[in-house]
Symmetry: C2
Subunit: 267 residues, 2 copies
């Protein structure tokens, strides 16, 4: 571990302050190597949005932020990692879903199939939030369905919608000067509030990768912030699936490594 | 490993035939879990290109194809994984470099700094090969320098140049119907000839990710083939760095996992 700041040197690994007052680890497991761990009983809701009250799904990790992991468990795996091409299970809107979300989905689902594809999702999100690249949309679809088929149903759409509202609120909270961009230290705080404590080296890498100016601005705009959050959240969750003992280390076979990483690469 | 074809079921893991006649494992280590292992003494050269005769660098793995790993060892790491922002060491053209490669570099290096940046590399490669996205260029620069600074010198440029010639020849060899695209089975053969045996599931994922039609054509064009090769080669090499015992499994800390994967994500 040469070259890494040792624990205790002011580095946020371990147990950073949890701004939501939730217990840092509700499962009695060893100290959380991933940093802040929001409790499943207190999902992030800084903007006062109303997440649908649904079953808790598999939100056993208690970390990762966003609503959907407590609402939308991925389809049951068919193999060691599930088939990346598994079919999406038809779904309905969770009870209590805001009618505007339903209307929004139905407007996008022209043929009434009950699913919308990548281009339809891109179009409909653009009217509610900001424009997203098709790459970001693909990453959203992958992470909200856990498959590579590029369609989502009402349930996933609702989760995407509320998560984006939540992330938008977080972005606006940390974009204090209203520049439309957040810098490295603001990104660090934003990720912490989502339950992810990343090291300074990882933070620098994220900023350099997601900065549209190619590293000149050292700042990230909203759409890339969303892609950055999706990436960190997705990779951390995949890593945790392998780190069953919660040690901060995980073992991968070559096959599982490739199947874990490739879906994030190009979309 | 449920859901994976067992060894011996016609699956190419293990020791597929080596089309170059090199011993499958020149180091006496356990059977190569990555598949075909070209010998360092017989670098791939199906088109009869002339790679510069240089030191062998750290090509100890004997796998991975392409010339550069025997010519351009990455700068010495400064920490467990090296600093992703390490400065590039100034370099010169290897003895015997084709004068047209030198002229090409010098034309691109307008200010005579001895380095060319991403946009200059993109421009100069377009005239010799085919157009590459800036993303592919960034991935090339990352893998040929092992840093995130987006500049390369004469040495790296020469390696990029010859590797692209090699990969172009491989692409043309497997694009038997001259359609400008290769399908899944041709990609499998092409990757095998580069020393990478990927499973059917990984192969499907690669085709779906690198197919410009979003999976409709189930085929990959030349520029995306290059990005696909860079991705498989880069990820496999990073994985092997952690799989020091050559077992086919590797352990990552959360930090090393993020630092390994993030450079491949967006470029």
């Amino acid at each position: 571990m040469a070259g890494y700041p040792p624990p205790g040197s002011g580095y946020p690994y371990g147990a950073p302050p949890n701004p939501y007052g939730a217990p840092p680890n509700p499962y009695g497991a060893p100290p959380n190597p991933y940093g802040a761990a929001p409790s499943p009983s207190a999902p992030y809701d800084p903007a006062g949005e109303k997440p649908p009250k649904e079953g808790k799904g598999q939100g056993g990790y208690g970390s990762g932020g966003g609503y959907y992991q407590h609402q939308t468990p991925p389809p049951p795996p068919t193999g060691a990692y599930g088939s990346p091409f598994a079919a999406l299970v038809p779904s309905a809107f969770p009870p209590g879903t805001d009618p505007s979300v339903v209307a929004c989905f139905q407007a996008a689902d022209c043929d009434g199939s009950g699913f919308i594809d990548d281009k339809e999702l891109q179009k409909v999100l653009s009217s509610y939030n900001q424009s997203f690249s098709i790459r970001t949309v693909h990453l959203l679809m992958y992470l909200f369905t856990n498959t590579n088929i590029r369609k989502i149903g009402p349930k996933e759409f609702t989760s995407v919608f509320y998560s984006l509202q939540n992330w938008r609120a977080i972005f606006e909270r940390f974009d204090r000067d209203r520049s439309g961009k957040i810098d490295a230290s603001e990104l660090r705080e934003a990720l912490l509030s989502l339950g992810f404590a990343v090291s300074p080296v990882v933070l620098d890498l994220l900023v350099s990768k997601f900065d549209k100016s190619g590293g000149k601005n050292k700042a990230i705009e909203y759409d890339n912030f969303i892609e950055c959050c999706l990436t960190v959240k997705g990779l951390t969750e995949k890593f945790k699936e392998k780190d069953t003992m919660y040690t901060g280390s995980a073992s991968f076979t070559y096959e599982s490594f490739m199947l874990t990483v490739l879906p994030f690469l190009v979309a």
